[in-house]
């Protein structure tokens, strides 16, 4: 931007007048371009969008009106004056008709010229403002239209159902998710809708309609539309106020909460199972203590000692259970940072066998190892892999026959280390195999009675294997034995 009051074009073939006018206007603070004939005026005027142009009517080459017309066709917002010594009514009309703003009769006084130019500039400003406002208005309208359609697209595409009802109970708005979730067809804007909504929702909406004061909060309800509970919905109903505070309607947001409900059911089942598993050993111990303390029951010292010993065993199993639960919780919540180092599976197998030697000897079980030479390291947390191996081997002992065998095979492929643990134990029935990795599942049959366990060992093994993106499979024949096959990536990342 420059500091000139305006850009002025002077077109006049009369040199004295042209230069005089130029100097006069320049002294007034205008930026003045002077053209010495029609051709030059036309050229300048069509290249630059001047604020004001003062054009002589009679010029030897091109007529002033012709120059005016051309300039106006390119820059309609340039305010043009026709200056002439031959002022006549007809030319004045003709000039204004083709777009001249004013008519300056020659000769003119400096004041007269300055006055006219100032008027022209004011006009120019008005025109530009109007033009700018027009553009802004168009832009706003366009934005508004865009915004509206964008909002519409958003509302229509979200998975929550939306229904808006006015105080007459008429449907004011809805999206596709709403009719899909509620499974209602053939509804139209403007129709009475309350009867078609689930009764849980209608109750809330009616309560909002009937209350004297609008509380700007959501009222939610959960319900199931199907008898078999396969779809759980949550409806949040919120009053919409008018600007004056009165009630305009109610917006209902419907969400599919089936997934959350399912998790809730699983969680409750898990809590029930944990409660049962925790209470069983406690009840046994408490039962023994009740007998020992009961004055009316005569107990031999041997029996008393036996009960205390058995109580100790039950408490030990309770401690194991709590430790297993803590392990699972640690896995679920990922509270413990993993320490990933190079781990050698053979070393872990050997140290675990050593640790379990007492149990192995008790049942007279022998272990046969077949381990690949130059077995690669795997990148893992040694505590987790030890836990996995311990659980597998202690199962292979617990569910084995007396004087049975355990075969351990470790081999490797390009990306995986493969561990196979086979026992000659009681094996699994096909339906037992399916539930094997779920929490608290313990195969219960004549052969497993008397074998203690938390029911969490294999579920922990699976969690560990899964967390390394590994693979666990089980093959088993009832009464013959069970084989666990585990593939762990050499580098899980």
């Amino acid at each position: 931007m420059n500091n000139f009051k305006g850009n002025i074009l002077i077109v006049d073939d009369e040199k004295g007048l042209r230069l005089g006018t130029k100097r006069l206007l320049e002294e007034e603070g205008y930026n003045v371009t002077a053209a010495e004939n029609g051709t030059e005026g036309l050229q300048f005027g069509t290249i630059t969008d001047f604020d004001v142009a003062v054009i002589d009517l009679k010029m030897p080459d091109i007529d002033g009106l012709e120059v005016l017309k051309e300039i106006k066709s390119i820059h309609p917002n340039t305010v043009c004056f026709i200056a002439t010594a031959f002022a006549s009514y007809e030319t004045a009309i003709q000039a204004t008709r083709i777009g001249a703003f004013g008519y300056i009769p020659k000769p003119f006084s400096p004041e007269e010229l300055i006055y006219q130019v100032e008027q022209g500039l004011k006009q120019r400003k008005l025109i530009l403002d109007a033009h700018r406002l027009e553009l802004e208005r168009e832009k706003n309208l366009l934005e508004l239209a865009n915004e509206k359609s964008r909002l519409n697209a958003i509302i229509k595409s979200i998975s929550e159902g939306i229904i808006i009802i006015n105080t007459n109970g008429d449907l004011a708005y809805y999206n596709y998710a709403a009719i899909k979730l509620l499974n209602i067809n053939n509804i139209q804007i403007g129709e009475k809708i309350l009867d078609k909504l689930p009764v849980h929702v209608t109750d809330i909406v009616n309560k909002i309609f009937q209350s004297d004061k609008i509380m700007l909060k959501s009222y939610t309800t959960e319900f199931s539309l199907h008898a078999d509970n396969e779809l759980f919905l949550e409806a949040a109903c919120t009053p919409i106020p008018n600007p004056d505070g009165s009630l305009a309607g109610v917006v209902i947001i419907l969400s599919n909460i089936t997934g959350y409900k399912r998790i809730e059911i699983i969680k409750n089942q898990f809590v029930s199972m944990v409660a049962h598993e925790l209470k069983t050993p406690l009840a046994a111990v408490q039962g023994f203590l009740n007998i020992i303390m009961d004055q009316s029951i005569k107990l031999s010292p041997e029996k008393q000692h036996d009960y205390i010993q058995r109580s100790t065993i039950r408490l030990k199993s309770l401690t194991d259970l709590v430790n297993d639960l803590l392990d699972i919780s640690r896995f679920e919540m990922k509270t413990k940072e993993r320490e990933i180092f190079e781990v050698h599976l053979e070393e872990i197998i050997c140290s675990t066998i050593q640790m379990l030697e007492l149990e192995l000897n008790k049942k007279g079980i022998t272990v046969e190892k077949n381990i690949e030479i130059n077995l690669p390291f795997i990148k893992a947390d040694i505590n987790e892999i030890t836990r996995m191996v311990t659980n597998l081997l202690s199962n292979a002992i617990k569910y084995n026959k007396d004087k049975g065998k355990i075969f351990i095979d470790i081999s490797s492929s390009k990306n995986y280390v493969e561990l196979k643990v086979r026992d000659t134990g009681i094996g699994l029935k096909p339906d037992e195999k399916q539930k094997l990795f779920s929490e608290f599942y313990r195969a219960k049959n004549d052969m497993t009675r008397g074998i203690s366990g938390t029911g969490l060992g294999l579920s922990i093994v699976k969690r560990i294997v899964d967390s390394y993106f590994g693979l666990i499979e089980v093959e088993s024949e009832y009464g013959v034995g069970t084989t666990f096959l585990i593939k762990l990536p050499i580098n899980p990342n």
């Binding site: 809590v271 029930s272 409660a275 209470k279 009840a283 408490q286 039962g287 009961d294 219960k444 004549d446």
Partner: protein, 126 residues
């Protein structure tokens, strides 16, 4: 003296309950699973059955009780329960649960003996 059958999968509970009842002079037979429990009841015809609600399956105690009733066995059944009430599985005597009374684990010897005595008395009156 009356013969009592105890059916529970927990050997410690079986042992403790037997000892309590034996100390009061009752004769006791036991089974640690529903199948054996059915067999001893059919074979030995006890005067009272003590039955755990949850053995191999969470509700196989119920089924065994229903089976006894269906087969016309009317002797009193005392049911051992554990966490069922605490987790909202509150049940009482009904057609689905055809038992005469409940004892909540852990078992108090006094409560057990009292309930056994009163059930046997009712049986005598009948």
């Amino acid at each position: 003296m009356a013969l009592i059958a105890i059916i529970d999968d927990d050997p410690d509970i079986l042992d403790a309950s037997s000892l309590v009842l034996k100390s009061k002079g009752y004769d006791v037979i036991t089974a640690n699973n529903p199948n054996d429990g059915y067999k001893i009841v059919k074979g030995k015809k006890p005067d009272l059955i003590i039955l755990d609600v949850m053995m191999d399956e969470p509700d196989d105690g119920f089924y065994l009780a229903q089976k006894f009733r269906k087969e016309g066995i009317t002797i009193p059944i005392l049911m051992y329960t554990s966490v069922s009430k605490a987790i909202g599985l509150d049940f009482g005597k009904s057609e689905m649960v055809p038992v005469d009374d409940f004892v909540e684990k852990p078992i108090s010897p006094e409560e057990l003996v009292n309930k056994v005595e009163s059930l046997l008395k009712v049986k005598e009156v009948k």
